[in-house]
Protein backbone atom coordinates (compact mmCIF):
# COMPACT_ATOMS: atom_id res chain seq x y z
CA UNK A 1 0.00 0.00 0.00
CA UNK A 2 1.34 3.44 -0.97
CA UNK A 3 1.85 6.09 1.73
CA UNK A 4 -0.13 8.61 -0.30
CA UNK A 5 -2.82 7.81 -2.87
CA UNK A 6 -4.66 10.61 -4.63
CA UNK A 7 -7.11 9.80 -7.41
CA UNK A 8 -8.79 12.33 -9.68
CA UNK A 9 -8.67 15.08 -7.08
CA UNK A 10 -10.15 18.52 -7.77
CA UNK A 11 -9.99 21.70 -5.72
CA UNK A 12 -11.29 25.06 -6.90
CA UNK A 13 -11.00 28.51 -5.36
CA UNK A 14 -13.67 30.50 -7.15
CA UNK A 15 -12.71 30.53 -10.84
CA UNK A 16 -9.22 29.10 -10.15
CA UNK A 17 -8.68 25.36 -10.54
CA UNK A 18 -5.85 24.96 -8.02
CA UNK A 19 -5.89 21.16 -8.27
CA UNK A 20 -7.41 19.85 -11.44
CA UNK A 21 -7.72 16.07 -11.78
CA UNK A 22 -4.63 15.18 -9.76
CA UNK A 23 -3.52 11.55 -9.63
CA UNK A 24 -0.55 10.93 -7.38
CA UNK A 25 0.75 7.99 -5.44
CA UNK A 26 3.82 8.01 -3.24
CA UNK A 27 5.21 4.54 -2.41
CA UNK A 28 6.56 4.03 1.10
CA UNK A 29 10.22 4.75 1.69
CA UNK A 30 10.88 7.11 -1.20
CA UNK A 31 11.39 10.85 -1.46
CA UNK A 32 9.10 12.26 -4.12
CA UNK A 33 9.80 15.78 -5.33
CA UNK A 34 6.71 17.69 -6.38
CA UNK A 35 8.23 20.14 -8.80
CA UNK A 36 6.39 23.04 -10.34
CA UNK A 37 6.24 26.79 -10.67
CA UNK A 38 4.29 29.06 -8.32
CA UNK A 39 0.58 28.45 -8.79
CA UNK A 40 1.03 24.88 -10.03
CA UNK A 41 -1.05 23.55 -7.11
CA UNK A 42 1.76 22.19 -4.93
CA UNK A 43 0.82 24.01 -1.72
CA UNK A 44 -2.87 23.24 -2.20
CA UNK A 45 -1.94 19.58 -2.59
CA UNK A 46 -0.02 19.76 0.69
CA UNK A 47 -3.01 21.36 2.43
CA UNK A 48 -5.32 18.68 1.01
CA UNK A 49 -3.06 16.02 2.55
CA UNK A 50 -3.46 17.53 6.02
CA UNK A 51 -7.18 18.22 5.47
CA UNK A 52 -6.58 21.94 5.88
CA UNK A 53 -8.21 22.09 2.47
CA UNK A 54 -11.10 19.81 1.53
CA UNK A 55 -11.20 18.45 -2.01
CA UNK A 56 -14.25 19.21 -4.16
CA UNK A 57 -13.97 15.74 -5.71
CA UNK A 58 -11.67 12.74 -5.78
CA UNK A 59 -10.27 10.14 -3.42
CA UNK A 60 -7.49 10.88 -0.94
CA UNK A 61 -5.85 8.24 1.24
CA UNK A 62 -2.83 8.88 3.47
CA UNK A 63 -1.13 6.01 5.34
CA UNK A 64 -4.26 3.99 4.75
CA UNK A 65 -6.63 6.62 6.19
CA UNK A 66 -9.37 8.20 4.09
CA UNK A 67 -9.36 11.99 4.03
CA UNK A 68 -10.92 14.14 5.27
CA UNK A 69 -12.85 11.74 7.56
CA UNK A 70 -9.79 10.15 9.16
CA UNK A 71 -7.51 13.17 8.85
CA UNK A 72 -6.59 13.28 12.54
CA UNK A 73 -5.41 9.68 12.48
CA UNK A 74 -3.33 10.39 9.37
CA UNK A 75 -1.88 13.60 10.79
CA UNK A 76 -0.81 11.79 13.96
CA UNK A 77 1.56 9.70 11.85
CA UNK A 78 2.87 12.40 9.54
CA UNK A 79 5.13 15.39 10.09
CA UNK A 80 4.67 18.67 8.29
CA UNK A 81 7.32 21.30 7.62
CA UNK A 82 5.62 24.44 6.33
CA UNK A 83 6.87 26.92 3.80
CA UNK A 84 6.35 29.82 6.22
CA UNK A 85 8.18 30.05 9.52
CA UNK A 86 5.41 29.78 12.12
CA UNK A 87 7.47 29.06 15.23
CA UNK A 88 6.62 30.83 18.48
CA UNK A 89 9.45 33.33 18.46
CA UNK A 90 9.42 34.40 22.13
CA UNK A 91 9.35 30.83 23.40
CA UNK A 92 12.49 28.72 23.82
CA UNK A 93 13.53 26.09 21.31
CA UNK A 94 12.85 23.39 23.88
CA UNK A 95 9.37 24.65 24.76
CA UNK A 96 8.41 24.94 21.09
CA UNK A 97 9.28 21.28 20.66
CA UNK A 98 7.57 20.23 23.90
CA UNK A 99 4.30 21.80 22.77
CA UNK A 100 4.33 19.86 19.52
CA UNK A 101 5.40 16.63 21.23
CA UNK A 102 2.26 17.00 23.35
CA UNK A 103 0.08 17.85 20.33
CA UNK A 104 1.32 14.64 18.70
CA UNK A 105 0.59 12.63 21.92
CA UNK A 106 4.23 11.58 22.33
CA UNK A 107 4.60 9.37 25.42
CA UNK A 108 8.07 10.42 26.54
CA UNK A 109 8.16 14.16 25.78
CA UNK A 110 11.68 14.91 27.16
CA UNK A 111 13.21 12.04 25.17
CA UNK A 112 11.42 13.14 21.99
CA UNK A 113 12.63 16.70 22.44
CA UNK A 114 16.23 15.52 23.03
CA UNK A 115 16.08 13.40 19.89
CA UNK A 116 14.70 16.24 17.77
CA UNK A 117 17.29 18.67 19.12
CA UNK A 118 20.11 16.25 18.33
CA UNK A 119 18.74 15.67 14.84
CA UNK A 120 18.64 19.40 14.10
CA UNK A 121 21.97 19.98 15.89
CA UNK A 122 20.32 22.52 18.18
CA UNK A 123 21.15 20.90 21.53
CA UNK A 124 23.29 23.82 22.65
CA UNK A 125 20.48 26.31 21.85
CA UNK A 126 17.67 24.51 23.64
CA UNK A 127 17.14 27.33 26.16
CA UNK A 128 17.42 30.13 23.58
CA UNK A 129 14.28 31.94 22.40
CA UNK A 130 13.56 31.18 18.74
CA UNK A 131 13.97 34.89 18.03
CA UNK A 132 17.67 34.54 18.91
CA UNK A 133 18.32 31.84 16.29
CA UNK A 134 19.84 32.44 12.86
CA UNK A 135 17.78 31.84 9.72
CA UNK A 136 19.37 28.44 9.15
CA UNK A 137 18.80 27.36 12.73
CA UNK A 138 15.17 28.38 12.52
CA UNK A 139 14.70 26.31 9.37
CA UNK A 140 16.37 23.31 11.04
CA UNK A 141 14.13 23.93 14.04
CA UNK A 142 11.04 23.77 11.80
CA UNK A 143 12.20 20.41 10.49
CA UNK A 144 12.92 19.20 14.04
CA UNK A 145 9.40 20.23 15.04
CA UNK A 146 7.97 18.21 12.14
CA UNK A 147 9.99 15.18 13.25
CA UNK A 148 9.50 15.41 17.02
CA UNK A 149 7.06 12.47 17.01
CA UNK A 150 9.19 10.35 14.65
CA UNK A 151 6.56 10.27 11.86
CA UNK A 152 6.36 7.69 9.08
CA UNK A 153 5.63 10.33 6.47
CA UNK A 154 7.16 13.78 6.13
CA UNK A 155 5.55 16.57 4.09
CA UNK A 156 7.99 19.34 3.21
CA UNK A 157 6.45 22.41 1.60
CA UNK A 158 9.18 24.38 -0.18
CA UNK A 159 11.70 23.55 2.58
CA UNK A 160 14.46 25.89 1.41
CA UNK A 161 12.55 28.74 -0.19
CA UNK A 162 14.28 32.06 0.40
CA UNK A 163 17.39 30.56 2.03
CA UNK A 164 20.94 31.39 1.04
CA UNK A 165 23.03 28.60 -0.57
CA UNK A 166 24.95 27.64 2.57
CA UNK A 167 21.83 27.26 4.70
CA UNK A 168 20.10 25.45 1.85
CA UNK A 169 22.91 22.87 1.84
CA UNK A 170 22.50 22.38 5.61
CA UNK A 171 18.78 21.77 5.22
CA UNK A 172 19.39 19.39 2.32
CA UNK A 173 21.71 17.29 4.45
CA UNK A 174 19.06 17.11 7.16
CA UNK A 175 16.41 16.00 4.68
CA UNK A 176 18.80 13.54 3.07
CA UNK A 177 19.42 11.94 6.47
CA UNK A 178 15.67 11.35 6.83
CA UNK A 179 15.52 9.85 3.35
CA UNK A 180 18.43 7.56 4.22
CA UNK A 181 16.61 6.55 7.42
CA UNK A 182 13.78 5.21 5.25
CA UNK A 183 11.13 7.85 5.87
CA UNK A 184 8.60 8.53 3.15
CA UNK A 185 8.98 12.13 2.05
CA UNK A 186 6.82 14.29 -0.18
CA UNK A 187 8.65 17.53 -0.89
CA UNK A 188 7.22 20.36 -2.92
CA UNK A 189 9.77 22.66 -4.48
CA UNK A 190 10.30 24.98 -7.36
CA UNK A 191 14.06 24.57 -7.20
CA UNK A 192 15.34 22.20 -9.89
CA UNK A 193 18.58 21.47 -8.06
CA UNK A 194 16.71 20.59 -4.87
CA UNK A 195 14.56 18.06 -6.69
CA UNK A 196 17.52 16.57 -8.53
CA UNK A 197 19.62 16.20 -5.38
CA UNK A 198 17.05 14.92 -2.92
CA UNK A 199 14.24 13.21 -4.79
CA UNK A 200 14.23 9.54 -5.78
CA UNK A 201 11.42 10.43 -8.14
CA UNK A 202 10.06 13.69 -9.43
CA UNK A 203 6.48 14.53 -10.32
CA UNK A 204 6.28 17.60 -12.53
CA UNK A 205 3.16 19.56 -11.75
CA UNK A 206 1.49 22.24 -13.82
CA UNK A 207 -2.02 23.71 -13.74
CA UNK A 208 -3.10 21.47 -10.89
CA UNK A 209 -2.05 18.09 -12.25
CA UNK A 210 1.01 15.92 -12.73
CA UNK A 211 2.32 16.23 -16.28
CA UNK A 212 5.29 13.84 -15.98
CA UNK A 213 6.68 11.48 -13.38
CA UNK A 214 9.84 9.44 -13.02
CA UNK A 215 13.42 9.41 -11.81
CA UNK A 216 15.18 12.64 -12.81
CA UNK A 217 17.53 10.89 -15.26
CA UNK A 218 14.63 8.97 -16.83
CA UNK A 219 12.60 12.14 -17.30
CA UNK A 220 15.52 13.93 -18.89
CA UNK A 221 16.29 11.04 -21.24
CA UNK A 222 12.63 10.55 -22.16
CA UNK A 223 11.76 14.17 -22.83
CA UNK A 224 14.96 16.15 -23.48
CA UNK A 225 17.47 13.70 -24.89
CA UNK A 226 21.06 13.88 -23.76
CA UNK A 227 22.28 17.31 -24.74
CA UNK A 228 21.12 20.91 -24.86
CA UNK A 229 22.88 23.70 -26.73
CA UNK A 230 22.63 27.27 -25.54
CA UNK A 231 23.16 30.14 -27.93
CA UNK A 232 23.78 33.72 -26.79
CA UNK A 233 23.51 36.82 -28.93
CA UNK A 234 21.33 39.76 -29.94
CA UNK A 235 17.61 39.07 -30.42
CA UNK A 236 17.76 39.11 -34.25
CA UNK A 237 20.48 36.49 -34.30
CA UNK A 238 18.69 34.33 -31.73
CA UNK A 239 15.53 34.50 -33.87
CA UNK A 240 17.50 33.36 -36.90
CA UNK A 241 19.15 30.45 -35.00
CA UNK A 242 15.81 29.47 -33.56
CA UNK A 243 14.09 29.35 -36.88
CA UNK A 244 16.90 27.23 -38.39
CA UNK A 245 16.81 24.78 -35.46
CA UNK A 246 13.02 24.48 -35.53
CA UNK A 247 13.09 23.93 -39.28
CA UNK A 248 15.40 20.99 -38.54
CA UNK A 249 12.82 19.51 -36.14
CA UNK A 250 14.51 20.59 -32.88
CA UNK A 251 12.69 22.15 -29.93
CA UNK A 252 13.83 25.56 -28.78
CA UNK A 253 13.02 27.37 -25.56
CA UNK A 254 14.00 30.72 -24.12
CA UNK A 255 16.66 30.47 -21.41
CA UNK A 256 17.12 33.91 -19.89
CA UNK A 257 19.34 35.94 -22.23
CA UNK A 258 19.88 32.90 -24.47
CA UNK A 259 17.90 30.25 -26.29
CA UNK A 260 18.25 26.57 -25.46
CA UNK A 261 18.06 24.01 -28.28
CA UNK A 262 16.81 20.77 -26.73
CA UNK A 263 18.08 17.43 -28.01
CA UNK A 264 20.93 19.13 -29.82
CA UNK A 265 22.73 15.78 -30.17
CA UNK A 266 20.23 15.10 -32.98
CA UNK A 267 21.13 18.27 -34.89
CA UNK A 268 22.31 18.04 -38.48
CA UNK A 269 25.05 20.21 -40.00
CA UNK A 270 24.23 23.88 -40.02
CA UNK A 271 21.43 23.81 -37.42
CA UNK A 272 23.75 24.78 -34.56
CA UNK A 273 26.08 27.76 -34.76
CA UNK A 274 29.72 27.04 -33.89
CA UNK A 275 29.58 29.20 -30.76
CA UNK A 276 26.70 27.20 -29.25
CA UNK A 277 27.49 26.07 -25.69
CA UNK A 278 26.73 22.37 -25.38
CA UNK A 279 25.76 20.98 -21.96
CA UNK A 280 23.98 17.88 -20.65
CA UNK A 281 20.19 18.11 -20.81
CA UNK A 282 18.58 19.00 -17.48
CA UNK A 283 15.34 18.64 -15.58
CA UNK A 284 14.70 22.31 -16.26
CA UNK A 285 14.70 21.57 -19.98
CA UNK A 286 12.10 18.88 -19.38
CA UNK A 287 9.94 21.14 -17.30
CA UNK A 288 9.98 24.04 -19.72
CA UNK A 289 9.26 21.66 -22.58
CA UNK A 290 6.27 20.17 -20.83
CA UNK A 291 4.79 23.27 -19.27
CA UNK A 292 6.14 26.28 -21.07
CA UNK A 293 7.06 27.74 -17.67
CA UNK A 294 10.46 29.04 -16.61
CA UNK A 295 11.84 27.70 -13.32
CA UNK A 296 14.26 29.12 -10.79
Amino acid sequence: MAAIELQDVYKRFGPIHAVNGLDLDVPRGICLGLLGPNGAGKSTTMRLLTAQAIADAGTLRVLGYELPGQAKEARARMGVVPQLDNLDVDVTVEDNLKVFARLYRVGDVPAAVDRALALARLGDRRHAAVDELSGGMRRRMLIARGLVHDPELLLLDEPTVGLDPQIRAEVWSLIDAQRAAGKTILMSTHYIEEAERLADEVALMAEGRVVARGRPAELIGRHAGSETAEVYGPPERLAEVRSRAEAGGLTVRPAGPAIAIIGSERSANGELPPDAVRRPASLEDVFVLLTGEELE
Binding site: A71, N86, D90, V91, L103
Partner: protein
Protein backbone atom coordinates in the same frame (compact mmCIF):
# COMPACT_ATOMS: atom_id res chain seq x y z
CA UNK B 1 -9.80 9.52 17.04
CA UNK B 2 -12.75 10.99 18.90
CA UNK B 3 -13.88 14.60 19.05
CA UNK B 4 -12.67 17.02 21.72
CA UNK B 5 -9.74 14.94 22.91
CA UNK B 6 -8.29 16.23 26.19
CA UNK B 7 -4.75 15.59 24.84
CA UNK B 8 -5.34 17.90 21.88
CA UNK B 9 -6.94 20.61 24.02
CA UNK B 10 -4.17 20.28 26.62
CA UNK B 11 -1.52 20.50 23.91
CA UNK B 12 -2.93 23.73 22.50
CA UNK B 13 -3.27 25.18 26.01
CA UNK B 14 0.33 24.23 26.79
CA UNK B 15 1.37 26.42 23.87
CA UNK B 16 -0.56 29.32 25.37
CA UNK B 17 1.06 28.71 28.76
CA UNK B 18 4.53 28.62 27.18
CA UNK B 19 3.86 31.97 25.49
CA UNK B 20 2.20 33.47 28.58
CA UNK B 21 5.34 32.76 30.60
CA UNK B 22 7.15 35.27 28.36
CA UNK B 23 4.75 38.17 29.05
CA UNK B 24 2.93 37.37 32.31
CA UNK B 25 4.55 40.22 34.22
CA UNK B 26 3.23 42.98 31.95
CA UNK B 27 -0.13 41.27 31.72
CA UNK B 28 -0.47 40.87 35.50
CA UNK B 29 0.79 44.41 36.05
CA UNK B 30 -1.99 45.95 33.95
CA UNK B 31 -4.58 43.65 35.52
CA UNK B 32 -3.68 44.87 39.00
CA UNK B 33 -2.94 48.52 38.29
CA UNK B 34 -5.96 49.23 36.07
CA UNK B 35 -8.57 48.45 38.73
CA UNK B 36 -6.60 50.50 41.24
CA UNK B 37 -6.73 53.48 38.87
CA UNK B 38 -10.47 53.02 38.25
CA UNK B 39 -11.11 52.65 41.96
CA UNK B 40 -9.12 55.76 42.74
CA UNK B 41 -10.80 57.75 39.95
CA UNK B 42 -14.39 56.60 40.36
CA UNK B 43 -14.65 54.95 43.75
CA UNK B 44 -12.65 57.38 45.81
CA UNK B 45 -13.02 60.39 43.53
CA UNK B 46 -16.79 60.29 43.00
CA UNK B 47 -17.38 58.58 46.33
CA UNK B 48 -15.66 61.38 48.23
CA UNK B 49 -17.26 64.25 46.33
CA UNK B 50 -20.58 63.41 44.63
CA UNK B 51 -21.84 59.96 45.57
CA UNK B 52 -22.43 58.54 49.02
CA UNK B 53 -23.79 55.06 49.43
CA UNK B 54 -25.27 53.19 46.47
CA UNK B 55 -27.78 50.37 47.00
CA UNK B 56 -26.81 50.27 50.65
CA UNK B 57 -23.05 49.93 50.21
CA UNK B 58 -20.20 52.40 49.87
CA UNK B 59 -19.50 53.61 46.35
CA UNK B 60 -15.99 52.12 46.51
CA UNK B 61 -17.45 48.68 47.24
CA UNK B 62 -20.11 49.18 44.56
CA UNK B 63 -17.56 50.08 41.89
CA UNK B 64 -14.94 47.60 43.09
CA UNK B 65 -17.29 44.63 42.77
CA UNK B 66 -18.58 45.91 39.43
CA UNK B 67 -15.04 46.25 38.14
CA UNK B 68 -14.79 42.45 38.10
CA UNK B 69 -16.93 42.48 34.95
CA UNK B 70 -14.79 45.18 33.38
CA UNK B 71 -11.64 43.18 34.02
CA UNK B 72 -13.27 40.05 32.61
CA UNK B 73 -14.44 41.59 29.33
CA UNK B 74 -11.22 43.48 28.69
CA UNK B 75 -9.04 40.46 29.44
CA UNK B 76 -11.15 38.07 27.34
CA UNK B 77 -12.83 39.72 24.34
CA UNK B 78 -9.89 41.93 23.35
CA UNK B 79 -7.11 39.30 23.66
CA UNK B 80 -9.35 36.82 21.84
CA UNK B 81 -9.91 39.27 18.98
CA UNK B 82 -6.37 40.50 18.56
CA UNK B 83 -4.64 37.25 19.56
CA UNK B 84 -6.67 35.12 17.17
CA UNK B 85 -6.24 37.55 14.29
CA UNK B 86 -2.47 37.80 14.80
CA UNK B 87 -1.99 34.04 15.22
CA UNK B 88 -4.05 33.36 12.11
CA UNK B 89 -3.03 36.11 9.70
CA UNK B 90 0.47 37.12 10.76
CA UNK B 91 2.08 34.26 12.70
CA UNK B 92 0.35 31.36 10.88
CA UNK B 93 0.28 29.55 14.22
CA UNK B 94 -2.98 27.77 13.47
CA UNK B 95 -1.57 26.27 10.26
CA UNK B 96 1.09 24.59 12.40
CA UNK B 97 -1.38 23.37 15.01
CA UNK B 98 -3.88 22.06 12.46
CA UNK B 99 -1.12 20.07 10.75
CA UNK B 100 -0.95 18.06 14.01
CA UNK B 101 -3.80 15.76 15.10
CA UNK B 102 -5.93 18.67 16.31
CA UNK B 103 -9.15 19.84 14.68
CA UNK B 104 -10.72 23.29 14.64
CA UNK B 105 -13.23 22.38 17.35
CA UNK B 106 -10.41 21.38 19.70
CA UNK B 107 -8.34 24.41 18.76
CA UNK B 108 -11.16 26.87 19.46
CA UNK B 109 -12.15 25.07 22.66
CA UNK B 110 -8.57 25.20 23.94
CA UNK B 111 -8.17 28.88 23.08
CA UNK B 112 -11.47 29.72 24.79
CA UNK B 113 -10.61 27.66 27.86
CA UNK B 114 -7.23 29.30 28.27
CA UNK B 115 -8.62 32.82 27.90
CA UNK B 116 -11.59 31.95 30.12
CA UNK B 117 -9.48 30.60 32.99
CA UNK B 118 -6.98 33.44 32.74
CA UNK B 119 -9.69 36.10 32.66
CA UNK B 120 -11.59 34.42 35.47
CA UNK B 121 -8.49 34.84 37.64
CA UNK B 122 -7.73 38.36 36.41
CA UNK B 123 -11.32 39.27 37.24
CA UNK B 124 -10.55 38.62 40.91
CA UNK B 125 -7.93 41.35 41.08
CA UNK B 126 -10.42 44.26 41.42
CA UNK B 127 -12.10 42.38 44.25
CA UNK B 128 -8.78 41.88 46.03
CA UNK B 129 -7.82 45.53 45.50
CA UNK B 130 -11.22 46.66 46.85
CA UNK B 131 -10.56 44.68 50.02
CA UNK B 132 -7.74 47.14 50.72
CA UNK B 133 -10.41 49.87 50.60
CA UNK B 134 -12.69 48.17 53.10
CA UNK B 135 -14.55 45.36 51.30
CA UNK B 136 -15.11 42.47 53.74
CA UNK B 137 -14.24 38.96 52.46
CA UNK B 138 -17.21 36.58 52.25
CA UNK B 139 -17.46 32.84 51.45
CA UNK B 140 -19.54 33.67 48.37
CA UNK B 141 -16.53 35.40 46.83
CA UNK B 142 -14.98 31.97 46.24
CA UNK B 143 -17.47 31.60 43.39
CA UNK B 144 -16.39 34.84 41.70
CA UNK B 145 -13.60 33.15 39.65
CA UNK B 146 -16.17 30.60 38.46
CA UNK B 147 -18.63 33.31 37.38
CA UNK B 148 -15.78 35.25 35.76
CA UNK B 149 -14.49 32.22 33.89
CA UNK B 150 -17.92 31.29 32.50
CA UNK B 151 -18.51 34.87 31.32
CA UNK B 152 -15.00 35.11 29.91
CA UNK B 153 -15.56 31.89 27.95
CA UNK B 154 -18.46 33.58 26.20
CA UNK B 155 -16.52 36.73 25.43
CA UNK B 156 -13.51 34.70 24.30
CA UNK B 157 -15.79 32.90 21.85
CA UNK B 158 -17.18 36.25 20.75
CA UNK B 159 -13.66 37.64 20.19
CA UNK B 160 -12.54 34.56 18.25
CA UNK B 161 -15.65 34.69 16.06
CA UNK B 162 -15.05 38.39 15.35
CA UNK B 163 -11.39 37.75 14.48
CA UNK B 164 -12.46 35.00 12.08
CA UNK B 165 -14.96 37.32 10.42
CA UNK B 166 -13.33 40.72 9.89
CA UNK B 167 -10.99 41.02 6.91
CA UNK B 168 -8.74 43.69 8.47
CA UNK B 169 -7.49 44.25 12.00
CA UNK B 170 -8.51 47.95 11.84
CA UNK B 171 -12.15 46.86 11.78
CA UNK B 172 -11.92 45.80 15.41
CA UNK B 173 -12.52 49.46 16.24
CA UNK B 174 -16.13 49.08 15.02
CA UNK B 175 -16.60 46.13 17.38
CA UNK B 176 -15.05 47.84 20.39
CA UNK B 177 -17.04 51.04 19.81
CA UNK B 178 -20.39 49.50 18.87
CA UNK B 179 -20.41 46.36 21.02
CA UNK B 180 -17.85 46.22 23.80
CA UNK B 181 -18.12 49.80 25.06
CA UNK B 182 -21.94 49.77 25.26
CA UNK B 183 -21.86 46.38 27.02
CA UNK B 184 -19.31 47.76 29.47
CA UNK B 185 -21.33 50.93 30.14
CA UNK B 186 -24.65 49.08 30.43
CA UNK B 187 -23.32 46.53 32.88
CA UNK B 188 -24.16 48.49 36.01
CA UNK B 189 -20.55 48.82 37.05
CA UNK B 190 -20.51 52.53 37.85
CA UNK B 191 -24.20 53.20 38.51
CA UNK B 192 -27.30 51.10 39.21
CA UNK B 193 -29.17 50.34 36.01
CA UNK B 194 -32.53 51.10 37.58
CA UNK B 195 -31.62 54.77 37.12
CA UNK B 196 -31.45 54.29 33.35
CA UNK B 197 -34.35 54.71 30.85
CA UNK B 198 -36.58 51.65 30.52
CA UNK B 199 -35.18 50.58 27.15
CA UNK B 200 -31.66 50.64 28.60
CA UNK B 201 -32.78 48.57 31.58
CA UNK B 202 -34.20 45.95 29.21
CA UNK B 203 -31.01 46.03 27.16
CA UNK B 204 -28.98 45.57 30.35
CA UNK B 205 -30.91 42.39 31.20
CA UNK B 206 -29.68 40.71 28.03
CA UNK B 207 -26.15 41.95 28.65
CA UNK B 208 -24.05 39.06 30.02
CA UNK B 209 -21.78 41.56 31.76
CA UNK B 210 -24.71 42.90 33.78
CA UNK B 211 -25.56 39.37 34.87
CA UNK B 212 -21.96 38.93 35.99
CA UNK B 213 -21.99 42.24 37.88
CA UNK B 214 -25.15 41.22 39.78
CA UNK B 215 -23.76 37.76 40.56
CA UNK B 216 -20.49 39.21 41.87
CA UNK B 217 -22.31 41.79 44.03
CA UNK B 218 -24.64 39.11 45.39
CA UNK B 219 -21.64 36.89 46.13
CA UNK B 220 -19.72 39.72 47.80
CA UNK B 221 -22.26 42.10 49.31
CA UNK B 222 -25.91 41.07 49.33
CA UNK B 223 -26.06 37.26 49.39
CA UNK B 224 -27.46 34.97 46.70
CA UNK B 225 -31.11 34.80 45.58
CA UNK B 226 -32.82 32.06 43.62
CA UNK B 227 -32.91 34.27 40.50
CA UNK B 228 -29.11 34.10 40.48
CA UNK B 229 -29.42 30.55 39.17
CA UNK B 230 -31.17 31.96 36.11
CA UNK B 231 -28.43 34.58 35.75
CA UNK B 232 -25.82 31.81 35.88
CA UNK B 233 -27.82 29.85 33.31
CA UNK B 234 -27.80 32.89 31.01
CA UNK B 235 -24.01 33.10 31.27
CA UNK B 236 -23.62 29.38 30.55
CA UNK B 237 -25.94 29.66 27.55
CA UNK B 238 -24.01 32.70 26.31
CA UNK B 239 -20.74 30.74 26.55
CA UNK B 240 -22.19 27.70 24.76
CA UNK B 241 -23.69 29.76 21.92
CA UNK B 242 -20.47 31.73 21.43
CA UNK B 243 -18.45 28.49 21.49
CA UNK B 244 -20.43 27.03 18.59
CA UNK B 245 -20.39 30.31 16.65
CA UNK B 246 -16.62 30.62 17.13
CA UNK B 247 -16.07 27.06 15.89
CA UNK B 248 -18.26 27.67 12.87
CA UNK B 249 -16.53 30.95 11.95
CA UNK B 250 -13.05 29.55 12.51
CA UNK B 251 -13.78 26.46 10.43
CA UNK B 252 -14.78 28.68 7.51
CA UNK B 253 -11.68 30.75 8.08
CA UNK B 254 -9.08 28.01 8.55
CA UNK B 255 -10.23 25.19 6.30
CA UNK B 256 -10.26 25.89 2.55
Amino acid sequence: MRRLEPAAIGGVMSREVANFRTFWKSSAFSSVVEPVIYLLAFGLGLGATLVDDVDGVSYVEFVGTGMVATAVIFSSALPAMFGTFVKHRFQHTYDAILAAPVDVEELVSAEMLWIGIRSGLFGCFPLIVTMFFGLEPTPGMLLVPVFGTITALGFAGFGIAVAATVPKIDQFSYVTTLVITPLFLLAGTFFPIDQLPEWAQIAAQINPLHQLVVLVRDASLYGFESVDLIRLGVLVAFALVMWRIAISRMTRCLID
